[in-house]
């Protein structure tokens, strides 16, 4: 059985270096989170993982596709 790379990619990638700590703290403060809480240290790798998981979305060619915001599925 073959393994698909995208499936592997859904598991958070903890070692991405895209988001540095200072930027994270600035964003966290802007989001209203208490950056002085020890909890923030636990959040940092989770946020990096989440943002890394968006990379596959950023690589998709979505040109010409409007966001599907109507939600109600059309009848066939």
């Amino acid at each position: 059985m073959s393994s698909n790379s995208t499936y592997q990619g859904v598991s958070p990638i903890a070692n991405q270096e895209d988001l540095d700590r200072d930027t994270f703290l600035r964003l966290a403060a802007a989001a209203g989170l208490d950056v002085s809480s020890p909890h923030i240290e636990e959040l940092f790798p989770n946020v990096r993982s989440l943002l890394a998981s968006l990379e596959s979305l950023r690589q998709m060619d979505v040109s010409g596709a409007e966001p599907d915001m109507a939600f109600i599925p059309p009848r066939e």
Binding site: Y7, L33, F71
Partner: protein, 474 residues
């Protein structure tokens, strides 16, 4: 009739006995309350039990039926609601102690419709906190336990609904499904779970998780019961902005005879991509055997390609966490420290998704939906596993899927998320058991608002198998 037999009868079977007055709703409710007493210390399916209210409602139903005012197949039948369905006068916690004393003043639409149908509310069911997780973990009210092996998870987020239904604690339960939360526990607990088309069942009065992905639906032991429940809860509700204005058929017309003839002529597509991911070989075998059986009964089975299946996790994940963070933001900032830490972390992380990334995910959703619709122009249904694994151990962060170890959350939502993205109807039905005696589910997905075809195929398959009749050892 022995109490345990009543507990394992379907709503369809019970309704025929109730209508003919061979069995009273009072007997049914007492049998279920006794079953709950006996099993709840192990399962922890309920957050709130309503024994006296249920007894009172059962006596009222009994009087009505004796007076000739039979309301229909759910009259006198026990139901229980996931504890994020608002119930007037009964606390609704959403699985968090923050809402331990929250008592809604109004019923959600689904509760209203069940009441009007004469169903009897036994209680409110345990769930993964705020429905934000697929395992059935809840430190505030206790983790949920799988009736087939209490050391294993029920799946989530509607874990209490899965365990209560599978263990005969209740006949009809409800779940909500944002990334698979009806179908995951249904598959892992060995019952039937239907995620209807987006907008078909009102979500008014349910605590949201992700507005554009949330669905409400039934969790039951037979496909007939799914049809009976849908006959009560489906239909337009002006109070839900996403509610679809579509005609609602009699879903029991999808139920054909006991010889599987309902499968004749149905075109079933099996996405090749479903089998290109880590998958327990026992699950693969059971699902392929189920599909072969459907083919032998007259379905036209073809392999199809659904390349964007592999993008479902990324698309759904971005939309879900962004919408969940938006909905729970105030709670998070004020009471974050009171949340289950994994739920808190996922919600907080959602605050970091940019509007551009969220909209990009919605753009990708457009492409995903287009591909899924094109597929369902070629075939009537898509078939495959509901879960790549059987129920994992409680609190296990990773699970073995074939030769690979994968993250539990990612594994459990692998096959379910695509149909939250599209909003298409999808059902899981039991299709076998592992060597360890754990249930395996088959997922069938159909065209939007074509629940009749989904139910028809599921029912026809169910009628020629006996997986749904097996009972957990508890």
């Amino acid at each position: 009739m022995e109490g345990l037999e009543l507990c394992y009868m379907s709503a369809g079977e019970l309704s025929r006995l109730v209508e003919s007055r061979e069995v009273s709703p009072v007997e049914i409710v007492e049998a279920h309350l006794a079953r709950i007493d006996a099993t709840e210390p192990v399962l922890n399916s309920f957050i709130t039990l309503l024994p006296e209210e249920a007894r009172s409602a059962a006596r009222r139903a009994e009087r009505e039926i004796q007076a000739g005012a039979y309301r229909g197949p759910l009259h006198g039948i026990p139901v229980a609601l996931k504890d994020l369905y608002n119930t007037a006068g009964v606390r609704t916690t959403s699985g968090s102690r923050i809402f331990d004393t929250f008592i809604p003043t109004e019923d959600c639409t689904v509760a209203t419709r069940f009441k009007e149908a004469g169903a009897i509310l036994l209680g409110k069911l345990n769930l993964h906190q705020f429905a934000f997780g697929p395992t059935g973990e809840n430190p505030d009210y206790g983790h949920m336990h799988n009736p087939w092996d209490p050391e294993l998870i029920t799946g989530g987020s509607s874990g209490g609904s899965g365990s209560a239904t599978a263990a005969g604690q209740c006949t009809v339960t409800t779940g909500s499904d944002t990334g698979g939360s009806i179908r995951i526990p249904a598959a892992l607990c060995g019952i039937v779970g239907l995620k209807p088309t987006y907008g078909l069942v009102s979500r008014y009065g349910l605590t949201p998780l992700s507005w554009s992905l949330d669905h409400a639906g039934p969790m039951v032991r037979t496909v007939e019961d799914a049809a009976l429940a849908m006959n009560v809860i489906a239909g337009h509700d002006p109070k839900d902005v996403a509610s679809a204005q579509v005609e609602v058929p009699d879903y029991t017309t999808a139920l054909t005879g006991s010889d599987g003839t309902g499968l004749r002529g149905l075109r079933i597509g099996v996405p090749a991509e479903y089998f290109q991911v880590p998958l327990d070989p026992q699950v693969e075998r059971a699902v392929r055997e189920a599909i072969s059986l459907m083919e032998s009964l007259g379905a036209e089975v073809t392999e199809v390609s659904f390349p964007m299946f592999h993008d479902a996790q990324a698309i759904s994940g971005a939309i879900l966490v962004a919408e969940a963070a938006a909905y729970h933001r105030d709670l998070l900032l004020e009471h974050g420290h009171k949340l289950y830490p994994p739920v808190r972390l996922r919600l907080e992380a959602g605050l970091f998704i940019s509007a551009a990334d969220y909209l990009r995910a919605q753009q990708a959703r457009t492409l995903f939906n287009r591909q899924a619709r094109e597929l369902l122009n070629q075939v009537d249904l898509l078939a495959g596993p509901t879960e790549p694994v059987t129920a994992p151990k409680l609190l296990a962060t990773h699970v073995q899927a074939g030769e690979e170890e994968v993250a539990t959350t990612a594994a459990l939502t692998l096959y379910t998320r695509p149909y939250n993205i599209t909003g298409f109807p999808a059902i899981t039905v039991p299709c076998g058991f592992s060597d360890e005696g754990l249930p395996i589910g088959l997922q069938l997905a159909g065209r939007p608002f074509d629940e009749l075809t989904v139910l028809r195929a599921a029912h026809a398959y169910e009628q020629v198998t006996d997986w749904h009749r097996r009972r957990p050892p508890i």
